[in-house]
C-alpha cells in the first residue's frame, strides 16, 4: 500500500475546491491524483444529494416517532393479555371436549338414564369428594382466567388512553 504524506492536503484542497493549486503535485503523484479524482467525484455527488434531499421536517419525524412509540407500547402491553386469553380459550375448549367425551361414552354404553342415575346415587359420596377436589384446584385457575378476561380490556383502555 503506497500512501503519499500529502494525501490529507489533497483532501482538504478538494473540500475547499482548490485542487488547481495542487496541480503540480497531482501530476507527479499517482496516488494523490487517484485520491483527488475519487474525492472530487464523491464530494460532488454528496453536494448534489444534500441539495436534492427532500427530508421531512423535524416536527413530522418527531410526531411519527411518538405515534409509533405509543403503538409499540400498546402492543407490548397487549401481548401477555392476548397470551392469557389464548390459554383461557384453549382451556375452555379442552374442558368442552372433555365433557363431550364423557357424555358420548355414557350414551354409547347402552345404559338407560334410570340405570345411570341409580349407579350415580350409589357412588354419590365418591363423586362429591372428587368434585370438591376439582373445585379446590380449579377455582383459583378459573378465577385467574376470569380476571385476565376482565383486566385485558381495562389494561388496553389505560394503555391507549391519552391521559
Amino acid at each position: 500500500m503506497m500512501e503519499c504524506p500529502r494525501e490529507s492536503e489533497v483532501l482538504e484542497a478538494v473540500a475547499l475546491d482548490r485542487v488547481a493549486q495542487m496541480r503540480d503535485h497531482l501530476d507527479a503523484c499517482a496516488s494523490c491524483a487517484e485520491v483527488a479524482q475519487i474525492a472530487a467525484a464523491l464530494r460532488g455527488d454528496y453536494d448534489a444529494a444534500v441539495r436534492d434531499a427532500h427530508v421531512p421536517s423535524a416536527g413530522v419525524v418527531w410526531w411519527r416517532a411518538t405515534i409509533r412509540a405509543r403503538a409499540d407500547a400498546a402492543r407490548a402491553v397487549s401481548q401477555p393479555i392476548t397470551l392469557a386469553q389464548g390459554v383461557a380459550a384453549a382451556a375452555a375448549i379442552g374442558l368442552a371436549f372433555g365433557f363431550a367425551g364423557v357424555a358420548w361414552r355414557s350414551l354409547t354404553s347402552g345404559a338407560s338414564l334410570s340405570e345411570m342415575l341409580v349407579r350415580l346415587s350409589a357412588r354419590s359420596e365418591e363423586i362429591a369428594t372428587a368434585s370438591a377436589l376439582v373445585l379446590q384446584h380449579a377455582l383459583p385457575l378459573a378465577l385467574g382466567l376470569a380476571a385476565c378476561l376482565v383486566i385485558a380490556p381495562v389494561a388496553l383502555y389505560f394503555a391507549l388512553s391519552d391521559e
Binding site: M1, Q37, G44, A49, A58, V60, I67, R68
Partner: protein, 188 residues
Amino acid sequence: MRDMTLSSVDRFGAGAAEADDIFQMDEDAFRLFYDRTSRSVWSFLSRMTGDPRLADDLLQETYYRFLRASGAPTDEAHRRNYLFRIAANLVHDARRRPRVDAVPMHESLERADPRQADAAGGAAARVDLSRAMARLKPRERALLWLAYAQGSSHKEIADALGLKTASIKLLLFRARRRLAALLGEGDR
C-alpha cells in the same frame, strides 16, 4: 405525509410529554440535532441503498431507533456516529429483503432533467459514479462515502461501521483502488 386529523393532533399534544419520557432527548434538542444531520443521513441512505424512496423510509426508522436507544451517547460527535451506525445497520438489513418497487439510483439519475443535473455538476459523471458504486461491496461503498463524501475521520468511520480504527486505512485504500478501476473501465 399522512393527513393529520384534529383528533390525531389532540392525541399528539397529549402524548408529547409522555414522548419526552420515552425518548432519549426532548423535542427541542431533537429538532436541532435533526436539522443538522438529516440531509447527510438521507444522502448516506440514498447512496448506500441506491433507492431514494427506500432512503425516505429508512430515514424515519433511523431517527426512531435513535430516539428509542437507551444507551445513546450524549455528545454531538458520538451521537452523529451512533446515528450513522444505525443507518448502516438498516441499510444492511434492507439489502437482505429487496424491494420490488426499488428504482436504482443510476436509473433515477438518468430520468432526471438533464439541465438540472448539468447544473449539479454533470449528469453523466454522476451516473458513472453511481454505477461504479453499485458494483462495489456494501462496506466499500460505505467506507468511501463516509471518508470522501462526508469527510469523516478514520475514527468516525470505525464508529459508524463497527470496525477497528486501525483497519480503516487499508480497507479504504482497497476500496478506493477498486472504485478508481471501475471508473476507469467506464471511461474506456
